[in-house]
């Protein structure tokens, strides 16, 4: 009862009742207690001697990383190219597979809401729920190490991402435009081509470039488990404690990511 009578008879108003106030305070208290409890659990197994040592350790590794071994860049150019290729081909593969899935999953284009749509949604959820590093681990076992495993890992992981965002874009289109094209006597494929595709094209371009951008980061990691690219060199350098190479690899990855940011910004600008 937020509105009540004050003593002088005028209407008083508060957003919450007294009971709601109490409930809120109790909820905050519970949250604080949970935080304290979690902190205790978290730090139970911590060896504090190591933590006290951490700044010195970090400074030591940092010192070994500097200066980066610049001459190593010659050997890095090929893996860098592989990394870019894994990301690009993986994204293309994902788009190729995700577009039909998105049309099957969107409520307004699916042939059957009862049967086809759940299957399409399952594909989207399943591919999204498995990290590309885990896909890569599986595929390296099946296909053997190399770039192909990386491409497929990146592609599979991206189907769900592209498919989900695209089917949401399809569901948000203006239905009047579709109705108008249907009313001309157009066949279903023509309706998709004339009424739906023009409406989702900007979203499609944005989603694809965004995913490519993410995939460049991911493809630099899949090499850690043998799926090609610069991750292979990173793993080798870490294993041999070649810290000056590790720092150069990190710099190379940073440069590539900056490049992809620049490209995706350009593309998004051009489309919209």
């Amino acid at each position: 009862m937020p509105t009540a009578r004050a003593a002088d008879g005028a209407s008083a108003w508060r957003r919450t009742t007294r009971a709601q106030d109490l409930l809120r305070w109790f909820a905050w208290l519970l949250l604080a207690a949970l935080f304290v409890f979690s902190w205790n659990v978290m730090t139970k197994d911590t060896i504090w001697a190591f933590v006290r040592d951490a700044p010195a350790q970090a400074a030591d590794i940092g010192g070994r990383m500097m200066p980066p071994r610049w001459s190593y860049i010659v050997q890095l150019s090929r893996p860098l190219w592989d990394t870019l290729s894994i990301a690009t081909l993986g994204t293309l593969l994902a788009i190729l597979l995700a577009v039909p899935v998105a049309f099957l999953a969107a409520r307004n284009t699916t042939p059957s809401v009862m049967f086809v749509r759940p299957v399409a949604l399952l594909i989207i959820v399943a591919t999204r729920s498995i990290n590309s590093l885990i896909w890569a681990l599986l595929l390296v076992t099946v296909l053997g190490p190399g770039v192909l495993a990386g491409i497929i890992a990146i592609g599979l992981r991206s189907i769900g991402f592209v498919g989900k965002l695209l089917y949401e874009a399809i569901e948000e289109i203006d239905h009047a435009q579709v109705e108008a094209v249907v009313a001309t006597g157009a066949a279903p494929a023509q309706v998709i081509d004339y009424a739906i595709v023009p409406q989702i094209l900007p979203a499609f371009a944005g989603i694809s470039v965004f995913r490519w951008d993410i995939n460049i980061r991911e493809s630099s990691v899949v090499g850690l488990v043998g799926a090609g690219g610069i991750g292979l060199n990173l793993e080798a350098s870490l294993n041999t404690l070649a810290w000056s190479q590790v720092s150069l690899i990190l710099l190379a990855i940073l440069g590539t990511v900056l490049f992809s940011e620049w490209v995706s910004a350009k593309v998004r600008h051009a489309i919209i």
């Binding site: 108008a180 157009a186 081509d193 004339y194 094209l201």
Partner: protein, 274 residues
């Protein structure tokens, strides 16, 4: 010629939008369909080309029974029924030319339409139609770059390029200013006279309907309550269609009512799968 007999539409929610409508529209005649919001005007014209499936009754376009057609034959029948929309319903990101040529989609194979390779005759027809509606200078503009009046002209050109026998026109002027509204209504009536098209025009503005249309049909709660000349819209008749209101006073008040009616959001019955 359009002949509607005993048309009933009951939505899945149980609402009866049309309750036994009979209507005959001969070739060359433009009929104004008036009635309060929710009377079933939009449903009626959408039943004709089966964007909304009728529950019962028959609809004949010439000799063709539209209600009995398979999906494939329905697509062929839709080519003969041009539709014009309140919010124009142009594909915003396509050019004026592509929008107009989409009126030919029912006649063209998928690959030709996908590659935008329409026949020379279709393209010539599109240019002629754009010339007729006065948009020849805007052929390559994107539809979202046009003004409201220009967009509605594109919508009209698209419908005409189908080579229709019948035009179904849903609130053609509801999104336009008064002057443009009159121009569009004039264009529609002229075109229907030129090409001997039958047409059903949903319209909220009674004064505008009286100005341009000779025959008016009044719909209230899914039932036809008036069918006669536009001069016959006396205060008693308007009360029968819309309900109690001081009909002897002109305009001002009536406009305010129209605005209120237009402010209603998208209608659930029009949201449907492809």
């Amino acid at each position: 010629m359009l002949r509607i007999e005993g048309l009933v539409k009951r939505y899945r929610t149980g609402d009866i939008a049309l309750d036994g409508v009979d209507l005959v529209v001969p070739a060359g005649e433009v009929v104004g369909l008036i009635g309060p919001s929710g009377a079933g005007k939009s449903t009626l014209i959408r039943c004709v080309n089966r964007l909304v499936e009728p529950t019962a009754g028959t609809i004949h376009l010439g000799e063709l029974d539209v209600t009995a057609l398979s999906r494939r034959d329905l697509r062929r029948a839709r080519r003969r029924m041009g539709m014009i929309f309140q919010e124009f319903a142009l594909v915003e990101r396509l050019t004026v030319m592509e929008n107009v040529l989409s009126g030919r989609l029912g006649y063209v194979a998928f690959w030709r339409s996908f590659l935008r390779r329409f026949s020379a005759a279709d393209v010539r027809g599109a240019f002629a139609t754009l010339d007729r509606v006065g948009l020849l200078d805007h052929v390559d503009k994107r539809a979202d770059a046009l003004s409201g009046g220009q967009r509605q002209r594109v919508g009209i050109a698209r419908a005409l390029l189908q080579g229709p026998d019948l035009l179904l026109i849903d609130e053609p002027t509801a999104s336009l200013d008064p002057k443009t509204s009159r121009q569009i209504m004039r264009l529609i009536t002229e075109l229907c006279a030129e090409r001997q098209l039958a047409a059903v025009v949903n319209i909220h503005d009674v004064a505008l309907a009286q100005l341009f249309l000779k025959r008016i049909v009044g719909l209230r709660a899914g039932v036809l309550v008036y069918d006669g000349p536009s001069e016959g819209l006396t205060p008693e008749v308007l009360t029968r269609i819309y309900g109690e209101e001081d009909w002897t006073r002109t305009h001002g008040d009536a406009d305010a009512d129209d605005d209120a009616a237009r402010a209603t959001g998208p209608r659930p019955e029009l949201i449907r799968a492809v």
